[in-house]
Structure formats: structure tokens, C-alpha cells
């Protein structure tokens, strides 16, 4: 078997030149590992943002007072009172694409339990708020529609509030706390949700009936915003349009007139994030591409020098009866062995580096098969090509010319 002999020759050449082999491999290893790690980081953060958004309720729709014109003066949307409870009822009754809906009013203040106190926010909502925001109860129960109707002073608290007002052994259920001097009886504790993408602590909240918050805390009768969930993520844009037309009718806005409210879905947020993460991934791919290129140049350099340096060897092999095909195959096998081994080491190094980054830096990562395949293929082919090309030239030489080479 001739090919077996050539394999033997190639193997021999590789182990005879460990340093050269190692340096050539290093280019492949670094290139492949860099690409895999970078793409894993890019992909990981994209995914975590997406998860975060769907954790917030990917079919969520938010209605807020808009920048309407009042006598030529634009009003600060935060100060606007254009959303009324009647709007909430209208959407709730007329919309066919919305499953849950809740008005939302909120205020900041100090929560106090005996000697403990903690600055936090109170959200006035309906029980459906849990479904809309995908929140779960860890303990106790949510307040009921009846409690909303009767403006009961009951509250459900987030984990952060619980930790800051109660000791770990203490059961907060049934306890009384004060928020801005108003007493609330705690009836439930939310499951932890962690920080959102903007670094906001989603557990630092108190939920209470919106009626209670409106009357007791804020002293208002309008709503600051309305949150709802569409029947599905796909139907969200339709639900947005439907809500628009319901509210325009409700607010008597004529065609051509500007709306005094805004409706937007998570979809828009998602597409915004997608474009950002696409830019980031493109950037990482560019960096990884440069790493690959440098690796490739390294391979090319060493392979080229190695073939030059071995021109006399090639001459000798031709002189004792090696055919130019034999020489070519030998160098090709060498290049394949080096590139493939380097590629495999690079893949494992890349995976290891990714896992270490995930473990020690706590960055979200996600290794994709595509990144492994692409980087491995590109590096392997660079190595093989640059191993093959100079060998191709050398094997075409006259044996006597190759032997005289110095």
C-alpha cells in the first residue's frame, strides 16, 4: 500500500519537527478557539436578552399617555392624564385579541416594618397583572377583583422588599407594613425574578389594588398606563392596531389628528434588541475573522518556509524514485494531520475557554454547532491549502534542480 507508506513518511516528518508542527498548529488552534469563544459570547448574550424579553411577557402590550398637543404646547407624557379608567374598561370589553389587561399606577415611597424601612415602588394593578408580566407567587395569594373593587389595603411584595423588611425566619404573610404611612396587610410574596436587561431589580416592588394606590397613595383618578397581553406573540401587532382604533374612538380623535396615547408591543422592543445584537455579533465575527486570518497567515508562513527548507529533501525523494504525486500526497497528509489536529485542539480549547468565561465571569454564552463547523473548516482548509500549494510547486521541480537548492 503506497498511501500507507506516504502516511508513514508524513507522520515521521511531523514528529521529527515537533516545534515546527507545534507552531503551525498554534495558528490553527488560536484561530479556531477565538472564533468559537467569540461567537459563543455573542450568541449567549443575544439569547439571554431574548429570554429576558420573553420573561417580561413577549406578548405584552403597553398603553401610555402620548405626547399630545394642547394649545400648541407639548405636555410631558408623565404628567399627562389622558388615560382614564374608562379606556381600560373599553379595551377590556371591546378587544378580541387581548386576554389580560390591567391599569397601572405607581408611586415611590418608603416601606416600613417596625424598625426596618426600605425605599421602593408600589404598583397599583389588577390580579391579571401576574399573567401579563409572567410573575409567580412564592407564598400566599394574589388579591382578588373584589379586593380591587373595595380598595382593600392588601399587598403582594417582591423578594427584595421581603428581604429588607423581614428577617429570613419571619413569615411576612399576614404582617402589616406601612407604605408612605398607609398600612398594608401582606397577603403574598412573589417568586424572585432577578434583574432585567437594564439592570433594574424586578423584585423591588410592592403590588396592590390600583384603586387603593390611586386613592390612598397618589390621590388621582386617572391611570398612568395600561398593560395587557395579546392572545399570542404573533397577534401582538394586530392587537396593537385594534387597541389604537378602540382608543381613538374612545377619545374622539378624528382622522388626521394626533393621538394622545401610545400603544406598543414587546415586538418592537425585541426587534430593537435584535438589531443591536446583530451589530454586536457582526463585530465579534469580524474580530474572529481577523484571528482566523492571522492564524492562516501563520500557517502559510510556516508551511512555506518548511517546504522551502525541505526542497532538498523533496529533490532526494524524487531522485530515489518518488513521483511528484507521492511528494504532493505526503505534504498534503502532513498538512491535513497538522490542520485537523490543530483544529480539534482549537475546538476543545474554545469550548473550555467558553465554559471558563461562563463560570468565572458569569457571562451568558452559547456554543453553536455552526461556529465550530465554520472555524474548523476555514482553519483546516487554510492549513491544507498552504501546505499543499508550496509542496505542489516543489514537487513539480526537476529532481536535480531541487537537489541543488540551497
Amino acid at each position: 500500500m503506497k498511501i500507507l507508506n506516504l502516511l508513514r513518511i508524513a507522520w515521521k516528518a511531523i514528529i521529527l519537527n515537533k516545534m515546527r508542527t507545534f507552531l503551525t498548529m498554534l495558528g490553527v488552534i488560536i484561530g479556531v478557539a477565538a472564533v468559537i469563544t467569540m461567537l459563543a459570547i455573542g450568541e449567549g448574550s443575544t439569547q439571554s436578552i431574548k429570554e429576558e424579553i420573553s420573561g417580561m411577557g413577549s406578548n405584552m402590550i403597553t398603553i401610555s399617555p402620548g405626547a399630545g398637543m394642547q394649545g400648541g404646547v407639548r405636555t410631558d407624557p408623565g404628567q399627562m392624564q389622558s388615560l382614564k379608567l374608562s379606556d381600560y374598561h373599553a379595551i377590556k370589553e371591546k378587544s378580541s385579541l387581548i386576554t389580560h389587561i390591567s391599569p397601572q399606577v405607581s408611586g415611590n415611597g418608603q416601606a416600613i416594618n417596625g424598625a426596618e424601612n426600605w425605599p421602593t415602588s408600589i404598583y397599583g394593578v389588577t390580579p391579571e397583572y401576574l399573567n401579563i408580566r409572567v410573575l409567580e407567587l412564592e407564598d400566599g395569594s394574589m388579591f382578588t377583583d373584589a379586593e380591587v373593587k373595595s380598595s382593600s389595603k392588601v399587598a403582594v411584595i417582591g423578594q427584595t422588599v421581603r428581604e429588607n423588611l423581614f428577617s429570613t425566619e419571619e413569615d411576612p404573610i399576614g404582617k402589616m407594613i406601612r407604605f408612605n404611612k398607609i398600612p398594608f396587610r401582606i397577603i403574598g410574596v412573589l417568586s424572585p425574578k432577578g434583574e432585567n436587561t437594564f439592570g433594574q431589580d424586578q423584585d423591588d416592588v410592592i403590588l396592590a389594588p390600583y384603586t387603593t394606590v390611586q386613592k390612598r397613595i397618589l390621590g388621582i383618578n386617572y391611570v398612568q398606563s395600561i398593560v395587557a397581553s395579546a392572545i399570542s406573540e404573533e397577534k401582538a401587532p394586530e392587537a396593537v392596531n385594534e387597541t389604537y382604533s378602540i382608543l381613538r374612538k374612545e377619545h374622539n380623535i378624528l382622522t388626521g389628528e394626533e393621538d394622545d396615547f401610545n400603544v406598543f408591543s414587546m415586538d418592537e422592543l425585541i426587534s430593537m434588541f435584535n438589531s443591536t445584537s446583530e451589530i454586536m455579533t457582526a463585530l465579534l465575527v469580524a474580530i474572529a475573522g481577523i484571528a482566523l486570518l492571522i492564524g492562516g497567515i501563520g500557517i502559510m508562513n510556516i508551511m512555506y518556509v518548511s517546504v522551502k527548507e525541505r526542497t532538498r529533501e523533496i529533490g532526494l525523494r524524487l531522485a530515489v524514485g518518488g513521483q511528484s504525486m507521492d511528494i504532493l500526497v505526503q505534504f498534503l497528509i502532513e498538512a491535513i494531520l497538522i490542520s485537523v489536529t490543530g483544529g480539534l485542539i482549537g475546538v476543545s480549547l474554545g469550548i473550555t475557554a467558553t465554559l471558563l468565561i461562563e463560570h468565572f465571569l458569569n457571562w451568558p454564552t452559547s456554543i453553536t454547532a455552526t461556529s465550530i463547523i465554520i472555524s474548523f473548516t476555514v482553519c483546516a482548509f487554510t492549513g491544507i491549502f498552504f501546505g499543499w500549494y508550496p509542496a505542489k510547486k516543489a514537487s513539480g521541480l526537476d529532481p536535480i534542480v531541487a537537489l541543488r537548492y540551497e
Binding site: I9, K12, E313, G315, G321, P399, I400, L403
Partner: protein, 231 residues
């Protein structure tokens, strides 16, 4: 980068019979190596023809030439040309690696036999760097023998060696010749030429002498007459 065409050989015509031991002589630059390279199918003449073992070399494609070199020729280079960091046996095995008809075991056996033949049985696994010049030359000779060629072509095989070692090498060639090998030997030293049966002398690419040697010296005897080494 041929600015000027060099005619290394001109009007050269001769034949060598099976079993002959021929020396090619001539001063430096007279075309000896060029001639030997043509005989070894490493180089091709611009015009004229060359036949080896009944084969017209001119008609051969590169692969055909490689096959002739592999099976019919044993070439000993002026500068040994051994693979560095590679053991003597593996160096000798080299031509057989390119002959798929020969199995691994036979290859190894023939390489060892060839090394035994040149008296290197105790240096099988030494690399060229661990061998003396004469020993390296013998490895090169063993390599030229291993494929059982129809002709052995040696280019200044004794050029870099002292007299004693040169004679040892010549004794080896004579032994090979007696056992039936055809040998063409290039040298520029007259005393080395005396060990062969025929001398072809070149001058500026022309044959100026092609004579039978009637007074062949025996290298083994000459070796005896050399002053003994002090050990």
C-alpha cells in the same frame, strides 16, 4: 536565469555493458556530474539519446523516469544527501518506500542486509549526525544497493574521504562489481580510477579518452599496504 548557454557536454557517445566497472574522469567543470545525472535519469540531454536496460529514456514521462530511477538505478550523490535526524535503516529504506510491490517486512530486511553489506551492522539506528563521513558515505552506498539496481552511479563517492577510507569504499565497490553489479564511478583522482576496468576521460564536455585498464589494482590489497593506524 541563463544569460549564456553553457554546453556542459558535446558529442558524447559510449556504451557500458552489464557487469562493467567504469570510471569517468576529468578536471573540475569538465561535465562529469552532468553526464552522470543524465545516466541517472535525473537530467535530460538537450539532444541525443540514452538507453538503459533496453528503455529509451527520452520517450519516458516524468513518472516513467521516476520508476526507472526507483527500480534500475542506485545513485550515490557527491554530498551523500541523507535525510537528517533519520536513522541509517530508514535512510536506506527510502527508495523502497516508493515501490508499492515491497512489503514493510521485506523493506526492513533488505535495508538491514544492505547496511550489513557495507559493514554498518552496528550502526543501524544511528542518525547521520551520529555517523562519521565515511560511515555516512556507506549509508549512501547501502541506499543505492537496496533496490537491487541494474547500475550503480557514484559521483565522487570518495571525494571527501581520507585515503584509507577511500580505499575501503573502493574495496566495497570492487566486491560489488565482482558479485555482478554494473558500476559507473566519477572521480578526478587517477589512483582511484586505477581500481576500475575502464576509464572515460572528459575535457570541456568532450570525451578525450575511453580506454580499457589492463592493470586493475585491488583495493583490498592496497589497503593492506597502507601504514597501519595507531590505535
Amino acid at each position: 536565469m541563463g544569460q549564456e548557454t553553457v554546453e556542459a557536454l558535446r558529442d558524447v557517445s559510449f556504451s557500458i555493458e552489464e557487469g562493467e566497472f567504469v570510471t569517468i574522469m576529468g578536471s573540475s567543470g569538465s561535465g562529469k556530474s552532468t553526464l552522470l545525472n543524465i545516466l541517472g535519469c535525473l537530467d535530460q540531454p538537450t539532444s541525443g539519446s540514452y538507453e538503459i536496460d533496453g528503455l529509451k529514456v527520452k520517450d519516458q514521462k516524468p513518472n516513467g523516469l521516476a520508476k526507472i530511477r526507483n527500480e534500475k538505478i542506485g545513485f550515490i550523490f557527491q554530498s551523500y544527501n541523507l535525510l537528517p535526524r533519520t536513522s541509517a535503516v530508514e535512510n536506506v529504506e527510502l527508495p523502497l518506500l516508493y515501490n508499492s510491490a515491497i512489503s514493510k517486512d521485506i523493506r526492513r530486511k533488505r535495508a538491514i542486509d544492505a547496511l550489513v553489506h557495507v559493514g554498518l551492522e552496528d550502526r543501524l539506528h544511528h542518525t547521520p549526525a551520529q555517523l562519521s563521513g565515511g560511515q555516512q558515505q556507506r549509508v549512501a552506498i547501502a541506499r543505492s544497493l537496496v533496490n537491487d539496481p541494474v547500475v550503480i552511479l557514484a559521483d565522487e563517492a570518495t571525494g571527501n574521504l581520507d585515503t584509507r577510507t577511500s580505499y575501503e569504499i573502493m574495496a566495497l565497490f570492487q566486491k560489488l562489481n565482482i558479485s555482478g553489479k554494473t558500476i559507473v564511478f566519477v572521480t578526478h583522482e587517477q589512483d582511484i580510477a586505477n581500481f576500475s576496468a575502464r576509464t572515460i576521460e572528459l575535457k570541456d564536455g568532450n570525451i578525450i579518452r575511453n580506454v580499457q585498464n589492463h592493470d586493475i589494482m585491488l583495493a583490498a590489497e592496497e589497503l593492506e599496504s597502507l601504514p597501519k593506524e595507531n590505535i
